[in-house]
């Protein structure tokens, strides 16, 4: 019984982890069809920002929930203006340029922070389920992921901003015929996506030692979560996170963590082969 609860919590955590780390990429892909391969580095920078602020004396919650998204959002804005906006419509070129940016950012961070791991203590302690010790912070991750998705859904469904965004997703020209500047929309979309990635990085900072190279581990999982999810931002992210998170954890429990990861990657290939448009290209079409 206790073991069951542990398994369920671990699965929920994995799903939340995937959803949280993919949200930023999903927004940018869903809205602009841009695949930002520097996404993992955005998450990493969010983590470093949080740790740096905390070490400078700022409150950890403030650092991770406010400062990190702000800083990474700013970074995203700069990148959009200097690089991304010249490459719209050129999907492969965008992937290549953002790949270059990811290398660049890793290089810069290594220069500034060096190559050894930095970390910060989780601000929420552990608790017990029967004989098992569980990290309380994981519950926070689950909570924040849920909250984030909820807020995104509410914005998309019930605000004017969300309506324009959904319209622009269906049809590029909708935005301009409604009087909104599409360039502006793209600029802010990329910025928001970056900010979300920064938030994820900040929230996850207390969980692992941070190295400039961690971006690599985020990008792969986020990438396949988003692409498999398909064009619909929220439904896509939720459905693929559910599938991958569950499979990853169950297989990990059955054998080893690395096998779980491999199983998740292999499943991604199978799903993409069967549903080339992603899950929401087949089911749940036209959802947010």
């Amino acid at each position: 019984m206790d073991y069951g609860a542990v398994v369920v919590l671990e699965i929920l955590y994995m799903i939340a982890f995937l959803a949280l780390t993919s949200a930023g990429l999903a927004v940018v892909f869903g809205m602009m069809r841009v695949i930002n391969l520097a996404h993992g580095e955005f998450v990493m920078v969010g983590g470093y920002t949080t740790i740096a602020c905390y070490q400078a004396g700022l409150d950890i919650w403030f650092s991770m929930l406010i400062v990190a998204p702000f800083v990474v959002g700013l970074l995203g804005l700069i990148i959009e203006r200097l690089v991304i906006r010249f490459l719209y419509g050129r999907m492969i070129d965008t992937m290549l340029a953002t790949w270059g940016l990811s290398l660049l950012i890793v290089g810069l961070v290594t220069l500034i922070f060096g190559n050894s791991a930095v970390s910060v203590q989780a601000p929420i302690g552990s608790y017990e389920i029967g004989q098992y010790q569980m990290g309380g912070y994981n519950l926070f991750i689950i909570a924040i992921a849920t909250l984030l998705l909820l807020v995104m859904w509410l914005v998309m469904r019930f605000t004017r901003l969300g309506l324009v965004a959904r319209g622009a997703m269906q049809n590029r020209d909708v935005a301009s015929s409604l009087g909104y500047n599409p360039e502006r929309i793209y600029m802010w979309t990329f910025t928001v996506g970056a900010a979300l990635s920064g938030l994820a990085g900040g929230a996850l900072a207390p969980l692992t030692g941070l190295l400039p190279s961690v971006g690599g581990s985020y990008i792969a999982k986020s990438f396949i979560t988003v692409i498999t999810g398909g064009a619909a931002i929220i439904t896509g992210t939720v459905s693929s996170s559910l599938i991958f998170g569950t499979v990853n954890q169950i297989v990990s429990f059955a054998s080893m963590p690395v096998v779980g990861e491999i199983a998740m990657l292999a499943l991604a290939i199978v799903l993409l082969r069967l549903m080339p448009q992603g899950i929401t290209g087949r089911f749940f079409k036209n959802s947010a």
Binding site: F86, G107, L111, F223, V258
Partner: protein, 350 residues
């Protein structure tokens, strides 16, 4: 204003080829053999990608998978067999086989560019994660322990076919690598000049039209993917012999990124471009590796971004276009001059 394209490749200039052979022959007298060998190996790796990407339009985000597989296959086979001829052949065959399977799955599934990028990326990730975790005695193929993130050191290197007591290393290895590169280059030219190669170019230009002509695009794409993987496997095998150790890093995303950067900087749509890109950037990378002021990633990343933004077709094609424009301008000037001269001589008149 004519513009003959000849499917993108002109006639091979045997003069330049001979000069290149000569240059490679005498290079060891001028430069460090060790460095030259690895640069040529990367050049071969880039050539394999450039063939597939530049002419058939297939971009693999995980080409390192075949490079690494070639290296590991050689190491494992060599430890088990002893004599190096069969391991060398296996190092070409195994990557080719994997590519044939993956390629067929992707191309017959009619998957688009982007999703192909994802799948090729994921394949290399899977292999990387798997190999990385194979530490310990449990993971062995015959005599060879896979070694996890430490890799496989100390395997028998290439020997003269049949003579296991005459190993090939140092200068000998350099000449083997150079010869392999030249042979593969000729092979690529031959493929591109053939009917098969021209269909590939057609597929890159307009796949649906090629299919409406009765060609099976998936078949051709799988075929070139397989050839490219075999070539990458060869490069990997040679690398294993150069480094005398194989590690999971050969399968990494970083390795895939590097070869893409070499190819795109050198220039898509030519064979020379990727090869020169590899030599140039590879050399840069080696230089940078020796100091810590400018980080390797930083510079490569910056180069990739700048090239995509400013020189999307790469250095060699841009240079070739510039040369073409200059020669056209010169020719136009000559025509104008001779017309003026004629008028002056005969007076303005009919």
């Amino acid at each position: 204003m004519t513009n003959s394209s000849n499917f993108g490749t002109g006639r091979i200039s045997w003069l330049w080829f001979a000069l290149a052979c000569l240059a490679l022959l005498i290079a060891p007298a001028l430069f460090d053999v060790n460095t030259m060998t690895v640069l040529l190996i990367w050049s071969l790796f880039a050539l394999s990608l450039g063939l597939m990407w530049g002419y058939a339009g297939i971009l693999s985000f995980g080409h390192a998978a075949y490079f690494g597989l070639g290296a590991y296959t050689f190491a494992v086979a060599s430890m088990n067999i002893g004599e190096s001829t069969l391991p060398l052949l296996l190092a070409l065959l195994i990557p080719a086989l994997l590519a044939a399977v993956i390629g067929a799955m992707m191309f017959y599934g009619r998957i688009s560019d982007v999703y192909m990028g994802v799948i090729t990326l994921v394949v290399t990730l899977i292999i990387f994660k798997f190999i990385n975790s194979t530490a310990g005695d449990a993971y062995r193929i015959g005599e060879a322990r896979l070694g996890g993130f430490n890799g496989i050191p100390a395997f028998p290197i290439l020997n003269v076919p049949g003579q296991t007591d005459i190993p090939i290393f140092g200068l000998g290895l350099y000449y083997v690598v150079a010869a392999s590169l030249l042979i593969c280059y000729l092979l690529c030219r031959w493929i591109l000049a053939s009917w098969f190669g021209r269909v590939l170019v057609g597929i890159r230009e307009n796949e649906s039209r090629i299919e409406l002509l009765g060609y099976s695009a998936p078949l051709y794409k799988t075929a070139i993917f397989t050839v490219s993987a075999a070539m990458a496997g060869l490069a990997g095998c040679l690398f294993a012999n150069w480094a005398e150790i194989v590690t999971p890093g050969l399968f990494s995303l970083g390795q895939s990124a590097e070869v893409i950067i070499y190819t795109i900087v050198g220039g898509l749509g030519t064979l020379i471009g990727p090869m020169l890109g590899a030599v140039g950037l590879g050399f840069l990378k080696l230089l940078l590796g020796e100091q810590t002021l400018i980080d390797n990633s930083l510079l490569l990343g910056a180069i990739l971004v700048l090239v995509v933004l400013l020189l999307p077709s790469g250095i060699v094609p841009t240079f070739m276009r510039w040369r073409q424009k200059r020669s056209q301008a010169t020719a136009a000037r000559h025509r104008a001059n001779s017309t003026r001269r004629r008028r002056r001589q005969h007076g303005d008149g009919a």
